[in-house]
């Protein structure tokens, strides 16, 4: 009888420990920046597939945010959707549906691209959001051609801080000028890699969008 009661108490202790356990250290945080400038808006259709893949991959307790990159991106106003999924899978599914709905609405509303591209501001905003979530694994996905074009007066020429973040550049398209001088493309990618690495982050480039499973892989 004592052993029987002991087992029941053990379950209760386990369940209690389970409810009190740390939830943040093992969760994943993903922040995706969508370049909505100029001709790159035509590429946003591909971004939708990535977002859908991420929604299918992320689990309960993970965080997901999407923001657009426009003339001045260091602002909460540019966030399209952000969510930390509930611990319960059924609620998580509902949240994912709502998330998808928000993204679909945004993508349908994009008609004309912004005049400038503030990637640095978006990165800073992403790092801030991910640090707030307290996620164990932090990913910043930049869906852009990485060509920064700042508005006059905006200062972005300083070292960025993205410690512990995996920064993944997706679908880095070649510009017309890159075709003339490919060194410009490699130089652009190299510059961003240096900025991210110096800021404490890890840098990766994925241009083959048929291999989406590599995005959250090492």
């Amino acid at each position: 009888m004592k052993k029987c009661f002991g087992s029941v108490i053990l379950i209760i202790i386990f369940l209690f420990l389970g409810s009190c356990a740390d939830t943040t250290s093992r969760s994943t945080g993903v922040y995706m920046l969508l370049d909505s400038s100029g001709t790159y808006t035509q590429e946003l259709k591909q971004a939708q597939a990535i977002i859908n893949y991420l929604l299918g991959t992320l689990q309960s307790g993970d965080s997901f945010g999407i923001a657009k990159i426009d003339s001045a991106s260091f602002s909460e106003k540019d966030i399209i959707a952000k969510m930390t999924f509930d611990k319960r899978p059924s609620v998580t599914n509902k949240q994912k549906r709502l998330f998808k709905q928000s993204v679909d609405t945004f993508l349908a509303s994009v008609k004309k691209g912004s005049a400038f591209t503030d990637i640095t501001g978006g990165l800073l905003q992403a790092a801030e959001y991910l640090n707030e979530t307290g996620a164990g694994k932090k990913y910043i996905l930049i869906f852009s051609d990485l060509k920064e074009d700042l508005k006059k007066g905006h200062i972005r020429d300083f070292p960025i801080q993205v410690p512990g973040c995996e920064v993944v550049a997706l679908n880095v398209t070649k510009l017309r000028s890159d075709n003339v001088d490919p060194r410009e493309y490699y130089g652009r990618v190299q510059r961003w890699e240096e900025r991210v690495t110096e800021g404490g982050g890890h840098w990766r480039v994925i241009n083959d969008l048929n291999r989406l499973e590599n995005i959250l892989g090492s």
Partner: protein, 479 residues
């Protein structure tokens, strides 16, 4: 100084230096031959003795393990035989209580039947026909001359008629009496049958008891062999333990498969209860909670089997008084039932969550919503039934587990004994190798110093020969 420099006795003449060095080495080896041989033999003897000692220790350990194995095996065998015999005696007791305890009433019934049969038999006894007294009168009349006497003829005719009438009446009465007796005998038939049936039942019972008695006798012989600690009994029990070990391991593997399926059935819905993103250590809390539920089911199964006295893993449960044991049975069964219901509900929840996830994936993949499959409730009900049955199925794991634990003692013991035996053999082999290696080293040593040894042998042979010749000369002179 280099090695070449050390052996360079005559500078500029390496060959001569080498030969001189070799000669010096041979001389040194020859001079040190006696102590070197002793040292090599001592070393080889020490190593040999060390290995032999270790082999002896290991062999003793193996013997102890073997004795312990035999003790354990015989104790387990004696226990099993006692249980078997006890159970057989209980069965015999049951038969005796059920059938032979009613023997007085049975005897009474048989006596009543016999009385009935006896009475009926008496009633059916043939009553002799009364002797016809008038036959003598008829004989006398028949001897009278009736020729010419019409009156006498008419009298005889009348007498004849009367006799015929009387004969008919008597015959009818006789037939009636016989018929009555037959009816009585007819009534006796069920009594006979009943008696026959009763005796047949008693006969069967007695035969069954005889068979059981023979079985018990055989078991008792085995038990006596175990008590006498014969090798035959130990060998038989070892073989039985090996068989039990493999069979119970197989059943346990099947049970583990069942537990894994059970785990997968409840792990996902548990995340709905304890959270999908929380961890204990490096494991998900929902997985641990599911595992704990399965382990508790196993524990309840063990307690239930113990309370039912099917297994004997926890003697304290088996030693409880019957009232407490019955309470324990009901408590463990109730907990198992509740857990089975919980699992069934979790299986239902799992089906719903899986369907929701599937729908979400289809939405994300931008696939058109598929129609709900016909009879889609079948997998749901199947999962619920599995969730309900698996806890009870897992409860029976206690039986193969007990068998596995008990047989593994013997099997592991035998394995340890075999390993020790192998080690002892290896150590003996190494000891012998060390001894022969010493002899080999001595021979190699002699081979290196062979020139001087050859000279020594030659001189000794020469001296012997000279002694022999001198002796022959002296003998010749004496002759």
């Amino acid at each position: 100084m280099s090695l070449a420099g050390i052996f360079s006795i005559l500078p500029g003449s390496p060959l001569t230096s080498g030969i001189m060095a070799l000669a010096a080495a041979v001389v040194l080896l020859y001079l040190a031959r006696g102590p070197a041989h002793k040292a090599i033999y001592s070393l080889s003897r020490v190593v040999h003795a060390g290995f032999r000692l270790m082999a002896r220790s290991v062999a003793l350990a193996e013997e102890r393990v073997r004795n312990r194995n035999k003790e354990v095996l015989l104790a387990a065998g004696a226990d099993a035989a006692e249980r078997l015999i006890e159970r057989e005696f209980q069965r015999v007791e049951g038969v005796v209580k059920r059938d032979l305890s009613q023997y007085p009433s049975l005897h009474r019934v048989l006596a009543d039947q016999v009385v009935h049969i006896d009475e009926d038999y008496r009633e059916s006894a043939e009553v002799p026909i009364p002797p016809p007294d008038w036959v003598k009168a008829v004989d006398s009349l028949a001897q009278l001359e009736s020729k010419g006497n019409n009156w006498l003829g008419s009298i005889l005719t009348e007498v004849h008629k009367t006799a015929v009438t009387q004969h008919k009446t008597t015959m009818e009465e006789y037939r009636k009496a016989v018929g009555k007796r037959h009816a009585i005998l007819e009534k006796m038939r069920p009594y006979w049958r009943k008696v026959s049936q009763t005796l047949e039942d008693v006969g069967k019972t007695i035969t069954g008891l005889q068979e059981r008695a023979t079985y018990i006798d055989n078991r008792m012989k085995e038990y006596e062999e175990i008590r006498n600690k014969t090798d035959k009994a130990a060998q038989k029990l070892t073989s039985s333990a090996m068989t039990q070990f493999f069979i119970s391991a197989l059943v346990l593997l099947i049970a583990i498969g069942g537990a894994v399926i059970n785990f997968n059935l409840i792990a996902l819905p548990m995340s709905e209860m304890v959270g999908g993103g929380s961890y204990i250590g490096s494991f998900k809390t929902s997985d641990i909670a599911a595992l704990v539920i399965i382990l508790v089911e196993l524990a309840m199964g063990l307690y239930l089997m113990e309370s039912l006295r099917i297994t004997r893993l926890f003697p304290i449960i088996g030693q409880m008084d019957d009232k407490m044991r019955h309470r324990m049975i009901w408590v463990t069964f109730t907990i198992l039932l509740v857990l089975a219901c919980v699992e069934s509900a979790l299986a239902f929840m799992r089906d719903r969550i899986a369907a929701d996830m599937q729908a979400l994936r289809q939405t994300l993949a931008q696939v058109e919503g598929q129609q709900v499959a016909f009879n889609s409730w079948i997998p749901t009900i199947g999962q619920m039934v599995m969730g309900f049955i698996l806890p009870f199925a897992l409860a029976f794991v206690a039986i193969p587990l007990e068998s596995f634990v008990q047989s593994s003692r013997t099997v592991v013991g035998e394995m340890v004994a075999a390993i020790l035996r192998g080690t002892a053999f290896l150590l003996r082999l190494l000891g012998n190798m060390a001894r022969y290696a010493g002899e080999l080293l001595v021979n190699i040593y002699d081979l290196l110093a062979f020139p001087l040894l050859w000279v020594e042998n030659y001189l000794r042979h020469r001296k012997d020969q000279m002694d022999l010749e001198q002796g022959e000369i002296i003998m010749n002179e004496e002759v």
